[in-house]
Amino acid sequence: MIRVINATKSFNGNKVLDNVSSDFEEGKTNLVIGRSGSGKTVLLKSIVGLLELDSGEIWYDNARFDTLDFRGRKLIRKGIGMLFQGSALFDSMTVEENVMFKLNMFTGMSHSEKRKRVDFCLDRVNIRNANKMLPSELSGGMRKRVAIARAIALNPRYLFCDEPNSGLDPKTAILIDNLIKDITEDYKMTTIVNTHDMNSVMEIGEKVVFIARGVKYWEGTNSEILKSDCKPLNDFIFASKLARQLKN
């Protein structure tokens, strides 16, 4: 479980996170939703320690993360897999080397074991026959999927995905959503996914946290979300004409 307590963060006096608290449970896909610029990425980066909070606490199970030093964080980070909004693949390495990176760095696996693991991970995200390609030779959606494969290479305990299916076609998007849900359940991971895609919310949102302008307005499950009377949330969900018509 990951627990965020009163997370607050400003950039140059501009409050981007304002007292956000929430629990993200193990074995569940936890979704953080909100409009563009609402602070989702900043929240996720604060949870993994790429940004430091101005105040507040971050807990990974029983360990308080935000006060740890590099060495303490390193122990927890070995169990973290993260998908960045822009994929962040290592562009000087091939697809295979990208996925293999953590295995090379942190395990004593033999080369054939590593190859097998890489193929398994790439297979899970439906990437085949691209092992020797460079990230620059892939489409945006393929890059995203390779990045997911890299994130899950070492069976993480905590998985963070920043907009895993933005830029993907609806079918692949659902595939990726379900993949994330499946591996979360299979390996009992604590997963946090940032998204603004309502399809993902309905598909895999076992727990949904809604933030707007850095404030948490609502949290609940995807079965409750359509019935909520939280005004900013409804503005977000029913932004499109189609959604409004469906509601009425």
Binding site: K78, M82, F106
Partner: protein, 246 residues
């Protein structure tokens, strides 16, 4: 004030770079890669520049010593000493600061702005060390070899220019380059090269590592790395010369 802060940040970064590597085999492989990128790929430019500079130095020395009181072999001697003492260490380092330094700064800077360094950080990798240490080691090992190559080819260029233009005979030139040879000059040149190589790779690594913003910033960082390392090279050239030759 800002300068002091930068210097402080530079030394803190160095502290991180020289931590014990988490996995030797990975670092070893990186270093080999960098030896090729930063070292082997610079051989061509060093050779071309050295041949021409050796030739020009010889011709200039020849035209400035046309007075018959100077023995002709002085041309060879002058060519040898200018190349060993100054050209193959300092001038070559300035050129490598442009080639190697900008390469390092833009590579690491791009990794920073495309969040690749963040991705490494998340994995629990000591990013400063993983990215910069292999580059420092590769340049510190390979640049002295480049200097030796540059000395050899530079003197050869001088000889070639001398005999093809007829300003000096082959025998005089060879006598000159052997005359009153001080082997310590080579040591001095190599010591300088090692220091310059460290400056080039660490300053460029620093500039790349702390880029923030977008691709425009990467370009600026790469320019800054060249300017700062050139200034530092000239400064340390002065200091080392005073220390080693006085």
């Amino acid at each position: 004030m800002k300068l002091l802060a930068s210097i402080g940040r530079y030394f803190i970064l160095l502290g991180k770079i020289f931590k014990k590597p988490e996995k030797h085999s990975v670092y070893y492989r990186q270093t080999i890669k960098e030896l090729i990128y930063l070292g082997v790929n610079s051989i061509g430019i060093v050779i071309i520049i050295s041949v021409f500079m050796g030739a020009v130095i010889t011709l200039q020395t020849a035209y400035n010593t046309e007075n018959p009181i100077y023995p002709r072999y002085l041309i060879g001697l002058g060519c040898r000493d200018s190349i060993i003492l100054e050209f193959s260490s300092t001038v070559v380092a300035l050129i490598l600061a442009g080639k190697v330094g900008s390469h390092i700064a833009s590579e690491i800077g791009t990794m920073r702005v495309t969040e690749q360094i963040d991705a490494l950080e998340i994995m629990g990798v000591n990013t400063a060390s993983y990215l910069i240490l292999p580059k420092i080691i590769a340049t510190v090992i390979f640049h002295p070899l480049l200097t030796l190559m540059s000395i050899t080819v530079g003197i050869f260029g001088g000889w070639l220019a001398g005999i093809t233009t007829g300003v000096i005979s082959s025998g005089d030139f060879i006598y000159g380059i052997q005359y009153a040879f001080i082997p310590y000059y080579i040591t001095y040149s190599l010591i300088k090269t090692v220091v310059f190589a460290f400056i080039i790779s660490s300053v460029a690594g620093y500039q790349g590592f702390f880029v923030s913003g977008g691709s425009l910033e990467v370009g600026r960082a790469s320019t800054r790395s060249v300017v700062y390392s050139c200034i530092l090279i000239l400064l340390f050239n002065l200091i080392l010369t005073q220390l080693l030759l006085s």
